[in-house]
């Protein structure tokens, strides 16, 4: 496969464009996604290729966008909706939680909801408390919704293709700060099965399960810790629902230590779920240190850039947590 470096953002756009060329039923809708190219420029240029019928601007109503997408999906279309900020899912919550997630089940399988809700999440852009949250645990809690959190350009393309193929509603969280990161991405179409974690780095002393941007911070920490002779394994679940528990369990069995890192507020975060998986699994007997969770501070994301940074785990925090955890190695 021909591989070149493109950005995470370009990988999102490429996945959508490839899918739209292959499948006429695929269309995208959202606020200002047409000529303007979307809040972050993800859909820039797409209206030229696919026209306003398939790249549809919508009114400023997330509930309406989600509702329209669900209706279209039920008629056999495969909509991709873009919400400008993942925080606005709250407005589309009734549609996503009470309709999208349950329709197929309540119709006894007679109606499918093959839609993807794409939305940028996370902090780091100085967009303050209403535009910087990480609310993925909310969606992961709802049966019927799949939740994807890609960390690399390669994963974005493969996972988005798989999400668009799925006959169920998928929430696809893109991290704002990752949009400009680049990575090796094949030109061809490929898919990454939902529910398959990726071991981003192999190690023997401690397992870090990290999501989204924290994958990169964990990798940075791991490189630093290597100098101290500490071998860190970094696992990126890539999808929270379905969750690849097996890969995590096997890794913890190998290392005997676990640290979970996510940007979302620690309390009630998805890290608790991962920890519980380990506590309930055969890996429990292999634990040689208490499990640690690193998550966002218990505050709304601050506007002040320094405070914003302080509110979420950073590389030194991860390094410190690892050192604490492997102390009795």
């Amino acid at each position: 496969m021909a591989t070149r470096q493109i950005t995470y953002l370009e990988a999102v756009r490429e996945a959508m464009s490839l899918e739209m060329r292959e499948n006429e039923d695929v269309f995208i809708l959202g606020e200002d996604i047409g000529v303007y190219g979307g809040a972050f420029g993800v859909t820039r240029g797409m209206i030229e290729e696919f026209g306003p019928e398939r790249v549809r601007n919508t009114p400023i109503s997330e509930a309406a966008i989600a509702g329209a997408a669900i209706g279209a999906a039920l008629t056999g279309m495969r909509p991709i909706l873009e919400l400008q900020f993942s925080d606005f899912i709250t407005i589309a919550m009734d549609q996503m939680v009470n309709q999208a997630a349950k329709t197929r089940y309540m119709f006894g399988g007679k109606g499918k909801v093959p839609m993807v809700l794409r939305t940028p999440a996370g902090s780091g852009t100085g967009a303050a408390a209403q535009h910087s949250q990480s609310l993925e645990a909310w969606m992961a809690h709802i049966p019927g919704l799949k939740v994807v959190q890609p960390a690399t350009a390669y994963d974005v393309k493969g996972l988005l293709k798989a999400a668009m193929d799925d006959d169920n509603p998928v929430i696809f969280y893109e991290h704002k700060l990752l949009y400009k990161t680049t990575g090796d991405v094949p030109e061809e179409s490929y898919k990454i099965e939902l529910g398959k974690a990726d071991i981003k780095r192999s190690g023997t002393d401690v397992t870090i399960v990290a999501t989204a941007i924290m994958v990169h911070k964990a990798l940075e920490a791991a490189a630093e810790l290597e100098k101290d002779g500490i071998s860190v394994e970094v696992i990126d679940p890539r999808t929270l629902v379905p969750l690849d528990t097996d890969t995590i369990i096997q890794s913890v069995k190998k290392t005997g230590r676990l640290i979970v890192v996510h940007e979302a507020v620690k309390r009630g975060g998805f890290g608790g779920e991962i920890v519980s998986v380990i506590a309930e699994s055969e890996a429990f007997d292999y634990l040689d240190a208490p499990i640690k969770r690193l998550g966002g501070k218990d505050v709304p994301i601050p506007y002040n850039p320094k405070l914003e940074k302080a509110a979420i785990p950073q590389v030194p925090d991860i390094v410190e947590a690892v050192k604490e955890t492997v102390k009795n190695r």
Partner: protein, 443 residues
């Protein structure tokens, strides 16, 4: 697969047993039901039979060694089958640390932080698993983590360290200041085990205090002796004892016995004894005074429907009280048979555990000695005990004339918490009257 042979638990209170002898050698064939070894518990000596056919592959425990209940003492299996070089410890994996600690007497003398605080050792799941797999007791591992938490590496260290001496041996050696380098190990690959340290101990003290050693013979109280010591002291301390005495004229008992002797002997081949008649008489008296056939349990008095009379029997190491069950429904012949059976078994150390359980009243007969009266100590949880003295011809005033009569003293000790003086006296009077008119026992 080789089957474990372990120290059986023969009563609810049994924590340890002493292995007295092996009946088989390693390599010998064993059949189900064959006696394999003999043990002494706090109550009895008993032969343990094989539960499996096969070859005795391994004996881990030497004679006269005290081992905890369920401790693996050996293996039976197919010839040539591999078994561990050392006993894997308690059968069934997990060991209750405290129970085991209590059972190994030497450990009680040693101060150990973990045991003293009775805290479960803090350990990571991985450390626990590793300790479990290697049959290591976490109590003996020093944790390097916060608050002494034991990590996998601590268990690994212990395992490496363990090549020379067992953890217990190390503890004892440390407490007794024995240099492990001076002790030869008798375990697998020369590993030093508890016995090695213990055998090194007397030699050490002989050197330091030879004079004192030669002037005394010291024997550690163990097994039945220890239990008797504890029980007697406990009974004397907890139950307020009052002893009543009276004399019974045994002339009619003597007549009865003389006439019944050939009858009973013909039926059973056994000789009717005075003790048998006294047991039966006591049973009859108890049935008329059921408040004596009782126990103090917590803040309740429990009165028993069945009359089970314990008979104190002297054995070489001490005293046992086997039980004749349901005396009131037994005739003299049946009582004789039961009493002879338990007496014989007691002397031959063949009492079954159930024959030592459930007595509601005890008789202690010292009539074969020059003893007239004594104050017996109640065999708790019972509430009364009857002491029987010798039958001695004495001058007795009867109808204004002096006669020589075979008199016997009865001493009744009772627990004043449960029984008051008057009802106890009424019971003793009843018993005296029955013995003086024993033909009613035949009714």
């Amino acid at each position: 697969m080789a089957k474990e042979i372990f120290m059986p638990k023969l009563s609810s209170t049994m924590a340890v047993g002493t292995l007295l002898q092996w009946f088989k050698e390693e390599g010998e064939t064993v059949e189900i039901g064959e006696p394999l070894f003999e043990i002494m518990t706090d109550k009895i000596n008993i032969e343990v039979e094989a539960y499996d056919d096969g070859v005795l592959l391994k004996k881990y425990v030497d004679v006269d060694t005290e081992v905890p209940v369920n401790h693996i003492v050996g293996y039976i299996g197919a010839k040539g089958e591999a078994v561990p070089a050392n006993s894997p410890g308690i059968a069934g994996g997990e060991t209750d640390v405290r129970e085991q600690a209590e059972s190994v007497s030497i450990q009680q003398e040693l101060s150990h932080n973990h045991i003293q605080t009775e805290e479960k050792p803090r350990a990571t799941p991985a450390a626990r698993q590793m300790a479990r797999t290697n049959k290591l007791d976490l109590v003996f591992i020093n944790g390097s983590g916060p608050n002494g938490r034991i990590h996998k590496k601590d268990v690994l260290l212990q395992l490496e360290d363990n090549t020379k001496a067992t953890p217990l041996a190390k503890k004892i050696a440390a407490a007794a200041q024995v240099d492990l380098n001076t002790v030869a190990g008798s375990g697998a690959q020369g590993k030093i085990v508890k016995a090695d340290i213990l055998s090194a101990l007397p030699a050490k003290s002989m050197e330091s205090e030879p004079v004192l050693e030669s002037m005394e013979i010291r024997k550690k109280m163990s097994g039945i002796r220890k239990v008797i010591a504890e029980r007697m002291a406990q009974s004397a301390y907890t139950a307020p004892h009052v002893t009543l005495t009276t004399e019974a004229d045994m002339i009619k008992v003597k007549e009865l016995r003389t006439s019944l002797l050939p009858v009973v002997e013909k039926q059973t081949g056994l000789r009717l004894s005075f003790t048998d008649i006294i047991i039966k008489a006591a049973g009859t008296a108890l049935s008329r005074h059921p408040h004596v056939n009782a126990s103090v349990v917590g803040d309740e008095i429990v009165q028993y429907r069945e009359i089970n009379i314990g008979l104190a029997v002297a054995v070489p190491d001490g005293l046992m009280v086997p039980v004749i069950k349901d005396v009131s429904s037994k005739g003299l012949t049946a009582v004789t048979m039961a009493a002879k059976d338990i007496g014989q078994r007691a002397r031959e150390n063949k009492l079954l555990p159930e024959q030592l359980k459930g007595s509601t009243f005890t008789i202690s007969n010292l009539g074969m000695y020059a003893v007239d009266a004594f104050t017996p100590i109640i065999n708790q949880p019972e509430s009364a005990i009857l002491g029987v003295g010798r039958i001695q011809d004495k001058p007795v005033a009867i109808n204004n004339s002096l006669e020589i009569r075979p008199m016997m003293t009865l001493s009744l000790s009772f627990d004043h918490r449960a029984i008051d003086g008057a009802p106890a006296a009424a019971f003793l009077t009843e018993l005296k009257q029955i013995l003086e008119n024993p033909y009613e026992l035949l009714a």
